[in-house]
């Protein structure tokens, strides 16, 4: 099976607060460290496991610039066979549709059976997978937490829906899936693994290589654009209880009793 996984570079946000920069044009990036978007990592692991079972190859692709090469290389260290970087000036400022159009052009250069994306990234949009599928006219399923390859023409997938339930579908290949966290346990990638792939070639494809008209993508082609970053006025929120621990506990007990919180 020829599998393509669309990946993205994202800041590591776990321990560190994301703050808006002084003029509100971006987040404060000085102290950030980056890695591959967590959802995309699950997708690459899933692709590798499918390839190990069914044969074929896994290609990871990213739309970005030279900074994004390191995440492509990391996923290759994890086990992806090939990496491609789609990079060109006209691509900058693309909205979701623009990114999807760029990816579509790359997809059409080779015959793929399965395309995976992460269910979302830090911007919480979760849009590229569905758009790419519609552009290619391929079937799509989002929030996939289970994949079982039936044969080379169809697969069975499970989608995560409310209440912890799972929606099972059968879907024809080729298709696009967006992958939810928890579908598998991604393998570890260490310094040694990355050193091993340090000299592998990652081809860079430009708008010309992909046959994309520059005005259709990038900022000029975008219909949705981000204007600024800000921290909203938090308004009222909760009444914060003050005082010594004993005083706070007293007050809390009063409230709990009053609201029926103690049976």
């Amino acid at each position: 099976m020829e599998i393509l996984v669309c990946i993205k570079r994202a800041p590591d946000t776990s321990e560190n607060e994301i703050e808006v920069n002084r003029d509100g044009t971006d987040i404060e990036r000085d102290d950030l460290v980056y890695s591959v978007n967590e959802w995309d990592n699950y997708a690459v692991e899933e692709a590798i496991q499918i390839r190990d079972k069914m044969g074929g190859s896994v290609t990871v692709v990213s739309v970005g610039d030279e900074d994004d090469e390191e995440v492509i290389r990391r996923e290759m260290a994890m086990g992806a066979d090939h990496g491609i970087l789609l990079s060109d000036e006209p691509f900058k400022g693309s909205d979701g549709r623009g990114i999807s159009a760029i990816l579509k052009a790359e997809v059409e250069k080779k015959k793929y059976d399965l395309i995976l994306t992460g269910a979302q990234a830090d911007d919480g949009a979760g849009q590229v997978g569905g758009m790419l599928a519609a552009m290619l006219d391929w079937p799509y399923a989002s929030l996939v937490n289970f994949i079982d390859v039936v044969d080379d023409k169809k697969i069975k997938v499970g989608r995560e829906i409310a209440g912890g339930n799972q929606e099972m579908h059968e879907i024809n290949l080729p298709c696009v899936l967006s992958i939810q966290t928890g579908i598998n346990e991604p393998r570890y990638v260490g310094i040694r693994g990355i050193r091993k792939v340090a000299s592998l070639e990652i081809p860079v494809h430009t708008a010309a290589d992909l046959g994309i008209a520059p005005e259709s993508v990038g900022e000029s082609g975008a219909r949705t654009k981000r204007l600024d970053y800000f921290v909203p006025d938090l308004g009222e929120g909760a009444e914060i209880l003050e005082g010594s621990t004993e005083e706070i506990t007293d007050k809390l007990l009063e409230l709990l009793k009053a609201k029926g919180g103690i049976k």
Binding site: P11, D122, M135, R159, R226, L256
Partner: protein, 328 residues
Amino acid sequence: MTQQVFAYIIHKAGVADDTALEMIAAARKLDPDASVAAVIAGDGTELDSVCNELVSSFNEVWKIDNEALAYVNAEVLRSLLVRILPTDGIVLVPHEHFGMDLAPGLSIKLDAAYLPDAVDFDGVEDGNLKAVREEYTGQVSTHVHCDISQGAVITVRPGSFKADESKSAAGKIVDKTAEAMEGALPAGARRFLEIVEAEVGDVDITKSDILVSVGRGIEDEDNLEIIFDLAKAMGADVSCSRPIVDAKWLEKSRQVGTSGQTVKPKVYMALGISGAFQHVGGIKGAPFIIAINKNPKAPIFQVADVGIVDDILDFIPELTDRINEMKG
């Protein structure tokens, strides 16, 4: 703005989802004068029941009624919607698991702009909608411009617009089935098989009155004991946020959130929970929410009624002792 606004309605067992009335509120915020049509797909009497409910809130209710839509498959529905929706319409869809499946592809097929996970609207100017989104799990917000002049598909975060219960409309039901089904059902490249239900746990938190809910602030599986002790003292049940289930410390049936259970308690204690919208989205019915978290900036303090800034590992055992003392 002259375009018609559409709101996709999710329903189950003959009842509209809470998001239905939130969509109306969102539409009115987008354009107070717009004509808003509910769009709904389903089968038979259950569908009719929801349509009758919706007419008092929407100007029109466009229904697609067919037995193949008894369980709505987003892939199938998308092709049907493309047949009936005008390409310059503004389509609002709830940003949840069905919406995420349907909406991105729909925007491509309608050749409309796409605005995902909007939490607020801030006016339309020269065909540009200014909206508010969040990024980085709610740590920062952004203003975005979306060119809706040629049509747009907008997904709206559930719970961000307060449901409009005014029922001030007198809409009519428009049966769009024939138009949608013209030329037969599209080929089923994705076929729905079944729902696999989550395993029933030992506790059904959806029926609990008092919930003591634990999040990442508990730090370690072995510390969960203090939560269970508190719950016992209060006569409450224990629930949790997603990270606790991901770490396999508690069963999925105890997870509160959009991908977990929806709960309607009277009192909800959020302990060591940051308050991401996916978690808060599972709390309905406006319970009295008490949040305890050592981070004063945690988003949970926005939705809680009362907050305590402290480490739950220190605070909870003392609270439990006091409650037990009080009960004698």
